[in-house]
Each structure stands twice: as C-alpha cells, then as structure tokens.
C-alpha cells in the first residue's frame, strides 16, 4: 500500500489500456473524465521565459505514455487577452489542460477563469436541450419543433409589425465567422436592430478613438507594454479583469522600470501594485485628464513638433484645458493638486508611456468625451504611434473586438462601413446578392439606412409607445443570442419589457437570467448553443490579432454551434441560399473557412482581408517562433509577420502583409505594419489642413500627408499602371475612378499604394476636435445622477434628444436632486472569478466556490453611519426604484461616499431567489442580486453606452 514509485519511472498497466478496453461505449463521459490520469509528456522548454517562469526544474525523463492523446489548441473564451489553451483530448473527451507556453500573449499563464475552462466539458449546469415555457413550466422540445415554433412566431411578428420589431441581440462570444454571419443574417431579415455587448462595454471607446485617429481599437498590444517607460491606467482593473495582462505590465515595471500610475475611484488589486494611485470621484475623468494636461501645457512639456506634424485642432484643446487649474481640478475630482502635478511630471519625463483604460472610463453619459480626452493627452505627449506608447484599450470579451469589427452593431455593416447606400452596395457585391433584394427585405430604404436600437435601449424599444420611436412599431420579439441581460441597467424595467414582448428567445449554452427574470408563463424559448470549445474559427484579441481556435470537443448534449443555428433559422425564414451563397454547407453547418474567405473579400476598411484561414492556422502552429515583445516572427516560415496578423493586414492573403502590431507607427514601412493617422475626416476643415505635415511612414514615396487612395488618385500619381488586368477589371466593376481602397474587391489599390510605401487609408492628422460630436472638444459633464449639485450649473449634462430611434433623457433627469435621498455614489466592476453576467462562470464549480455571495463594498465611514457591519446584509436602493439585498464588505478599498458592486451576479431579484424558475439542473451554482437592478438611467451622448460607473444609491441595514 505504501509503495510509492519513484517519480519518473512510469510503467505498469497504463490507463489507456483500461480505456481502450472500455471505449466500446459503456463508458460515459463523466466516468471517463474521472478516470483520466495522464497527459502527453510536455516537451521541455529550453529557454527561460522573459518574465522568469520556472519550467522543468528537473526534466524527469520518460513520461510520455503511448496513447491517443491529441493536443488541441484553442483560445480562452473569457477575456480579450487571448490566452492559448492547450487541451488534451482522448477519444473525444477533454481530459486535461496544459499551459500554452508558446503563446506570446499568455506564456502559459491563465487567470482563474482560463485555468478552469476545461469545466466546460463537464457542463453539468448547461442548458441541455431546446425548451419552451408553457403554462409556467419548462417543456423539452426538439430542435425541429423549436425552429418551427420560434420561426413561425417571429415571421408572424414580421408580417404584422415589420422586420424592425424583432431585435437580434448578438454576442461577443461569437467567433469572427459567426459574428459576421449573424450581421448578414440580420441584414437578410431586414433590420438594423442588431447589437451586442460592445455597446455597453467599449462603444464610447470605438466611437471616440476612431473619430480621433481612424480606428477604434487598442493601438498597440499587451506585449508592447514591455517597452513602456510609464503605464497610466485609468478606469481599469486588469488584476481582476485581465490578469494575464498584468504579467506584461509587471514585466515593464520590473524590467524597464516603468512607472505605474493607477487612477481609479477604487483602490483596486491593480492599484495595489502601482507606484502612484490617484483616487478620484467617479465620472470626472475629463476633469482629471485636463488637470494633468494643464500642467503639461503650463510647463511646455507637450511634444510641440509632434503636434505640429500630426495633430489637428490642438489650439481648441489649449483653450479648454486652460480652465482646468489645479484648484478647479481638485474641486471637481477630489485629487490633490500636488498629486496631479507629480503625475503630469512623471508622464512628461517618462516616455514612451502607454495609457490604458477600460470600462471605468467608457460607461458614462459623456463616455465619448472621456475616451477622446485620454487620446488627446497621449497626442500631446507624443506617445501615439510609438512602441511602448499608444492607447492600450483592454477590451472585455474574448471576441468583442471581432464582433465589433464584424458589425454586430446597430449602426454599421461589417468593417465599419456604416449603413449608407454605398455600404449596402459594397456588401451586396461581396455577398453576391442584389442590392434591390436586400432593400426588399427592409421596411423601407430609410429604415435600411437608419441606425437601429442599441442593446442598452431595447427595453425602451419595447416599452415606449410606437409613436415615440423612430421606427414603425415597437419591439415584439427579442432574441438573446449569447447575452446576459443582467449586464444591463434598469432591470425592473427590463422585467416589464420582457413581460410585454410577444416572443422571447434565448440562444445560449446556459439559460441565463433572461430565462428567469420575467414572470412570463409562455412564449419563452431556450435553445442550447455550443461554446467556442465545441466549434472552431477565428477570434480577435484586444490587440487586433486573430487567433484560430480548433474544436476541442463535439457539442455537448443537444447544443449546436451558433452558425448552425443561424443556418437552421435562415432555412426557416427562406433566405438560407442568400446567407450561404459563397459558403459551402456540410449538412447544416456552413463551413467556417468559407465564411473567413468571404469576409476576407469585403473587410478592406480595417484590413481583415489578409488573414486567410490557412495563414491563421499557421500562426497557431508556429506560435513559438514569435518574439514575446515585438510579436514579430523571428525566422521560421512566418519570418517578419506579426503574431495573429493584427489588423490592418492589408490586401489579399497572397500579398502576405505582416499585419500591424502598433497602429500609426511611422518608423516602419507600411508593408511591415507602419502607417500614419487615417485620413478619414476630409483633407481640410475651415481652411486648416487635416493631412499630416512633414510626417510619413518610412519608405513612403509621398513625403507628406495624403488623402485616402482612390482609383482617380492612383491615376493622378501614375501608379495605376502597376495594377494587373484582373485588378483593373475589378476596379472598373465598382465604378472606375470613384472606386477606392475600401470598395476595390481585388485589393489592387491597396497593393499598389503599399508597394509605393503608402497607407491605403491616407496619411492625416489625428483630430482632437470632433466637430460631428455633441462636444467637439471633450468637456466634463456631471453624471445624470450626481451628488455634487453645486457643479451642475457649471458642468451640466446634455439636453434631452431622440437618437438611435429612442427618446433619451439627460437634463430632465439631472435637474432633479436625487442626492438627498440617495447620498452615495454607486459604481460597479469586475471580479476575477466571473465574467459578464456570470451565468457561465457561476455555473462552473471551480470558480463559483471562490465567490459565493454578492456583496457591496462600503467605506467604513458610510457603513458606520448607516449602522452596517462587515458581512451583514444590506439593502441598496437606487434612485430608479430598484433595490438589492447584498452582503456588506466594509473596506477602505472604496473612498468615502462611494459604494461598489460587482456586476456578475443574477438569479436573485430584489431579495427573492429565482432558483426554482430555472430549467431543472441548469441553474447556476451561485446566484445573487444583480447590481444592475439598482443601476439607473443614463446613456452616452454618442453611442448610448449605459452609465453604470457613476450613479447614486442609498444603503440601509437589512
């Protein structure tokens, strides 16, 4: 009994022999998992990792037992870092998970969520088969019944109320191909009422950043932070939200001695690792940034030459910033003047510095102002377009960047083409469809070109009378295709909206809060979707790199991959042929690679054209050849390419563009990922040149700024003779001279421009003044629910307006003083163990065990005033009438007057558990109040981002 074999001397009957005997069929998956005890011997990693991981302290030798262990490489589905997951699969069962040491992104590391993704293969709390709610009871139905019944109901709504009465709520959990397909699916259905989580996550970033310099994405990469001399992080908590990113940040802190500054209302786990922590009042980001910039300008620390060459409108910024004296900044933000000055000094003297933000900055009614203010600070310091600098915007979900890029949004077709007629025609060409056919699918041309209702406002799309909406009828049907409703504010109203709907469809691996929140007794359908581990395809990480996932296991139970479900519904709706015109279908599964190839043919704007499935698979295969800092392959078959071909990866796959690791970097040629700012806003405004001056990517034959490339421009330059005949033909087909780099389906214009060292999208200045926005120069505006009534007069919010089809209130809310009854500021954020609405992670026992109670962080001062002890229950009331019963976590982590709640919980509503409303066996292990039950009204003035980071509340002992 006590005979312990010496480690390393593997012999004796191997588990596999037991297995192969049992695999006849008698063995069920669970038994198999429990029996699994082996793994292929990992090849010893020779080189020490840059951050000093210990590996193979003593490679003990003979491990690898013979067996049919297959290693499948996939990517974690929990955040945008894109950690490689190496799955060990034996006979179709996921038996083990190994660290993906080769991945430049995670170097083997994971956070709690990534280290537990294998639990997906247990899937005990998964939604196991299609179900419908009938007389208040969940009833199991078949897929055919489900598709028929749901299809009939939605078609009936379409018939009676028009296509815009069904809302297709897509997901950041789709892979790129599915995201692209669902946008096409919505177009064929005939509505722009399609959206996804990015709306309530980084929509203000995408809008703000894209309108500043062209593209709305992280400009550099997690790895590039290694080169930073300073990290300024505002409104983000990567230690919990992107833990593996912290590896790169700590690496910079230790190796390059980067100064690490965290600005946040909460002293987060990240702040605990910082050199300097600035606590400021929620909702005062613009004031704080202008406060820093005030010192920079006051001392002349700005990069004047950089501004002259590459920045437009800086004088307007100077004028605004001049108002933000240290005294005023302290009055508004609460940050001591001396600290602001110290930070400004640090930022000016430690370059390049990177600026990172997350949802703390975006989720405000003036979120677009926040994001632009951050960008402007970086421009002033000359930190843009340099390695180690940039705005490193950490996206949330694993593929929220991709889903945004592929237009799972109410205001654009894939690739940010928008909704104009020309955009529709471009995509009609790519899809091989008639423009007129597409038009016929819509209620009208006007509705075809009008932005849809954003996900943050679907509630109002249901509850508002049709005459208040800028669409023919209110919403009657709602399809949650991978979305947790508890991640949205105003849950009590959402409950009403759900009850008012005709049909509620939930397509998800888990039932989600959508299945239990309302008191409906009929007309709710649950369709089990497969996770990304049960299908394959590409996903775009935060740094714009695409990674190809392999399928780890077959879909569990009766679940199906999203694209199969889309195809089923397309058949039901009668547009299956149109949906897959260029795509081969195996059984009912559209072939993923064909979808990739199709979007390669249309995504010219942001350079999703070079990433063919073949290239992406090679990148996964040769992960180890990429440098862990530059992301560039050193030698090997992919020499010189950037890992995952971060977009823009210009031209066709055959052109083999390297991808672009750092945006707007003029120190490298365009062919190797260099570029200036995008010429997106014209060539001049009010007589001022918008194009770059004395700045161009090295190797450019045009040594100046230039507009975006068109056929006419090529001709003018005489470069059109470089086009091949095929390219010329393709260009003629889309309009000859008027064809441009975005519409040329051959990629010829891009190819020729790059051959001459030019970026296809032009070479312009970044604009600090966005004249198309409500606040051309970013302004501080008090949150709708502000405790500082004294500041409302000086910094009022916007006037009420109707946009995105729904009436939206600003001033009419802010004019009321809620602060008397609701004296505390309420903000929200993430926990490392959970993600999003949390239905998936709270169903994973390995994670759920670690966070079993919903809580609110309260400062001891406020807790004592309210008579609440640590660990006790408290009622938190929001000014919209919602209330939650949560545990008190009394801590100095939050400042006086601020209460924090994590937003991952659900399944308890205003004190009442909804556990018995879940389909049996599919209830998450941990339930809790949703912070959004108490969260309030308030939407960004450009993107309808919800304002969850600064509202009000009152706490009472329960």
């Amino acid at each position: 009994m006590l005979v312990k074999k010496r480690s390393g001397s593997a012999n004796g009957p191997h588990i596999l022999s037991t297995l192969s005997a049992a695999v006849g069929g008698a063995i069920d998956r669970r038994t198999f998992l429990r029996r699994s005890g082996i793994a292929a011997g990992g090849a010893a990693l020779a080189a020490a990792l840059p951050v000093g991981a210990v590996r193979q302290a003593q490679a003990a030798g003979p491990a690898a037992p013979a067996g049919k262990i297959e290693m499948r490489k996939t990517v974690c589905t929990h955040c945008s870092v894109g950690c490689t997951v190496e799955a060990e699969v034996v006979n179709g069962v996921w038996v083990g998970q190994e660290p993906g040491y080769d991945s430049p992104f995670n170097l083997g590391a994971h956070c709690a969520k990534g280290a537990s993704v294998r639990e997906h293969a247990h899937g005990e709390r998964r939604l196991k088969h299609p179900m419908k709610l009938e007389g208040g009871k969940w009833k199991k139905i078949s897929w055919d019944e489900a598709v028929n019944e749901v299809g009939d109901r939605l078609l009936k709504i379409r018939e009676a109320n028009g296509p815009d009465s069904v809302f297709w709520l897509g997901s950041a959990k789709h892979n790129n191909e599915q995201a692209y397909l669902i946008r096409k699916f919505a177009a064929l259905w005939g509505t722009n009422n399609i959206d996804h989580q990015a709306r309530i996550c980084h929509s203000t970033t995408v809008a703000g950043v894209a309108n500043t310099w062209g593209y709305g994405a992280m400009t550099n990469s997690y790895n590039d932070i290694h080169n930073s001399k300073l990290i300024f992080l505002i409104g983000g908590n990567p230690a919990e939200a992107h833990p593996v990113a912290m590896q790169h940040m700590l690496h910079a802190k230790e190796k390059t001695k980067a100064k690490f500054i965290v600005a946040d209302p909460r002293f987060t786990r990240t702040a605990a690792r910082a050199d300097e922590y600035m606590r400021f009042r929620p909702g005062t980001d613009v004031a704080l940034i202008w406060g820093i910039l005030w010192h920079v300008l006051d001392n002349g620390w700005e990069d004047k030459e950089y501004i002259r060459r590459r920045v437009y409108g800086f004088e307007d910024i100077r004028a605004e910033v001049a108002k933000w004296t240290p005294e005023e900044v302290e009055r508004v933000t609460g940050v001591p003047g001396a600290q602001v000055k110290r930070v400004a000094q640090l930022m000016a003297s430690n370059k390049p510095g990177t600026l990172i933000w997350c949802m703390g900055g975006t989720q405000h009614s003036n979120g677009n102002n926040n994001t632009r203010a951050y960008c402007i600070l970086q421009l002033a310091l000359g930190n843009m377009g340099v390695s180690g600098g940039g705005t490193n915007i950490f996206r949330g979900h694993d593929n929220v960047q991709g889903a945004t890029d592929f237009g799972v949004v109410a205001d654009s077709l894939p690739g940010y083409y928008g909704l104009a007629e020309g955009s529709w025609k471009h995509w009609a060409r790519v899809w091989g469809l008639d423009y007129d056919y597409l038009l016929s699918r819509f209620h009208s041309k006007e509705m075809m070109e009008a932005t849809g209702i954003p996900v943050s406002r679907w509630i109002d799309g249901v509850l508002e009378p049709a005459e208040n909406l800028e669409q023919p009828e209110s919403l009657k049907g709602m399809v949650f295709w991978g979305h947790a409703p508890n991640s949205q504010t105003r849950l009590p109203e959402m409950k009403q909206a759900m009850e008012k709907l005709d049909t509620l469809v939930i397509i998800d691996p888990y039932p989600t809060v959508a299945s239990v929140l309302s008191d409906r007794t009929d007309g709710v359908y649950l369709l089990p979707a497969a996770t990304q581990f049960e299908t394959y395809g590409s996903a775009t990480a935060s740094n714009r790199s695409l990674q190809w996932r392999e399928k780890v296991i077959e879909p569990l139970f009766e679940s199906l991959p999203d694209h199969v479900i889309m195809y089923k519904f397309a058949k039901k709706f009668g547009f299956a042929d149109e949906l897959v015109k260029n795509i081969q279908v195996n059984g009912e599964e559209p072939v993923i690679e064909d979808i990739t190839r199709e979007f390669n043919k249309g995504m010219w704007t942001i350079g999703y054209t070079g990433q063919s499935p073949e290239r992406l698979k090679e990148h996964m295969k040769y992960q180890h050849t990429f440098d862990k800092t530059t992301l560039r392959a050193v030698g090997g078959p992919l020499d010189g390419e950037y890992y995952g071909l971060p977009w823009p990866c210009w031209g066709t796959p055959e052109m083999r563009h390297t991808g672009s690791a750092n945006l707007y970097d003029t120190s490298i040629p365009v062919a190797q990922g260099g570029m200036g700012f995008r010429a997106r806003f014209g060539v001049e405004r009010n007589g001022t040149n918008l194009l770059a001056e004395d700045s161009w990517p090295v190797g450019s034959e045009i040594e100046d700024g230039y507009p975006e490339f068109t056929m006419a421009m090529l001709k003018k330059l005489g470069w059109d003779k470089d086009l091949t005949d095929d390219e010329r033909k393709a260009i003629e087909a889309v309009g000859g001279d008027s064809a441009n780099w975005k519409t040329d389906l051959s990629g010829g214009i891009q190819r020729v421009a790059i051959a001459h060292g030019c970026a296809p999208y032009g070479n312009a200045k970044a604009r600090t003044v966005v004249w198309t926005f409500p606040d051309p120069v970013p302004l501080h505006r008090e949150p709708l629910y502000t405790p500082r009534r004294d500041l409302v007069a000086d910094y009022p919010t916007y006037e009420d307006k109707t946009f995105w089809r729904v009436p939206t209130m600003y001033a009419s809310i802010q004019k009321n003083d809620f602060s008397k009854d609701f004296p505390l500021i309420l903000t929200s954020g993430r926990l490392v163990e959970y993600e999003g609405g949390g239905d998936e992670t709270r169903s994973n026992p390995w994670l759920a065990e670690l966070q079993q109670d919903m809580f609110a962080e309260v400062n001891p001062y406020d807790a004592n005033n309210a008579g609440i002890r640590n660990g006790a229950d408290l009622w938190l009331h929001g000014p919209n009438g919602g209330k939650v019963l949560v545990k008190a976590l009394v801590t100095e982590r939050v400042g006086r007057g601020v209460v924090f709640m994590p937003f991952h919980f659900g399944g308890v509503f205003q004190g009442k558990s909804l556990r018995d409303k879940y389909p049996q066996g599919a209830d998450p292990i941990v339930l809790g109040e949703s912070s959004n039950t108490a969260q309030t009204y308030g939407y960004d003035s450009v993107t309808q981002m919800q304002e969850t980071k600064a509202t009000l509340c009152r706490i009472e002992a329960a």
Partner: protein, 198 residues
C-alpha cells in the same frame, strides 16, 4: 538530489486565483476542498499583498511528525505525500501544519472529517504511478510526467514559482536584484527593502 519547493512572489501575486482553479482542474478537487488558496493581507489598503498558499512541502514537516498512523512521508524530490488508505481523519496534521494545508471532506460521522487531502505538488500519491487509483485519490502525477505543478505553470503573473529549490531561489533573487534599484521611490512597494536583505 533536488528539493521541490513553492515560492510565491508577493510583489507579483494579484489574487487572480488561477492557481486555485488550475489545481481544481488538474486534480478534480471537489467543492469545499482548497488544496491551494490565496490570502490577501491588508486587503484594500496601501500595502495590500496577496500570497498563494498550499502545502509547502516542508523538509522538517510537522504533519509527518504528528500523524498517528504515520502515513505522511517525503519522496526523493522532497515532496510531502500521504497515503489516504491509512488516514483516519483525526485532523492532527491540520493542527500541526503552520500553513493550514491539510483539508478534509466533511464525510465522517457527525460532520467530522474524511480522509485528509492536500497539495501533492502534482505528484500523485503512493498508488502506482499513472494508475486510475492514484488519479482518483490524489490527482495527477505531473512530476512523473516531467512537468511541474499546474498552479505554478498557469500563474497569471508568474508570481507562484515551483521547482527545484535552487532554481526557484535563483529566479527570485534575480527579480529582487532587478527591482532593487528604484524600489521604495514610489508608493507602496515598501516590501522591497526587506527583500534586499536576502
């Protein structure tokens, strides 16, 4: 002969709990048993520091000493393992352990303990290496496969190190030297001073 150790770098650990779930994953550790846990000191205040804790595989292990049935032992690699067959769930190893490592399923009579469970350094147990019995009772035997414990391999910030004592301390020393120069100049990194004494 090597001596396996864990080391948690408190200046790196961010309480992401990857080590905890990696352990659960690799060894199918049941609900309620935490072979590894992360403790945060001074939570929410400047000086906050997290440490990941499990069995430290002490060379002079009190559990080995106290066990009434003498089922806890050292391997050649200095890993402390135990034989669950002989464990009577008395809980004495938990009383003796400085780190609170031993865990017990609540399956005994009157809610008392079942057989002790603890971190095995991913080295299985006394059953035959790679056997089903070994996996069921103790979890994976990664060491025998030539791999290190998964908790350390998956640590998000490489705070948790595992491996031969000399190599681990070399890496840690190197880090301390690197940090040394500007430490203390800013903010909360007050622990640097103490570490330099190493």
């Amino acid at each position: 002969m090597g001596k396996m150790v864990f080391l948690c770098d408190g200046d790196r650990c961010i309480e992401c709990n990857a080590c905890v779930t990696a352990c659960k994953n690799e060894n199918e550790v049941p609900w309620g048993i935490n072979r590894r846990r992360v403790v945060t000191l001074d939570d929410g205040t400047p000086g906050e520091k997290s440490l990941s804790v499990a069995c430290m595989h002490c060379s002079d292990a009190p559990c080995v000493n106290v066990c009434p049935t003498n089922v806890i032992y050292h391997t050649n690699d200095g890993v402390v393992l135990h034989n669950k067959d002989g464990c009577i769930g008395c809980g004495y190893c938990f009383y003796a352990c400085p780190f609170g490592a031993p865990q017990y399923p609540q399956e005994g009579n009157f809610g008392s303990r079942g057989k002790m469970d603890k971190c095995t350094f991913c080295n299985g147990g006394p059953e035959e290496t790679f056997s089903q019995a070994e996996y069921t009772k103790y979890g994976r035997n990664r060491l025998a496969e030539g791999k290190l414990p998964l908790c350390a391999e998956m640590c998000s910030t490489k705070a948790l190190l595992a491996g031969d004592a000399n190599e681990v301390s070399d890496i840690y020393r190197q880090r301390v030297v690197e940090r040394g120069f500007d430490s203390g100049a800013y903010g909360f990194s007050q622990s640097f001073g103490q570490q330099q004494k190493l």
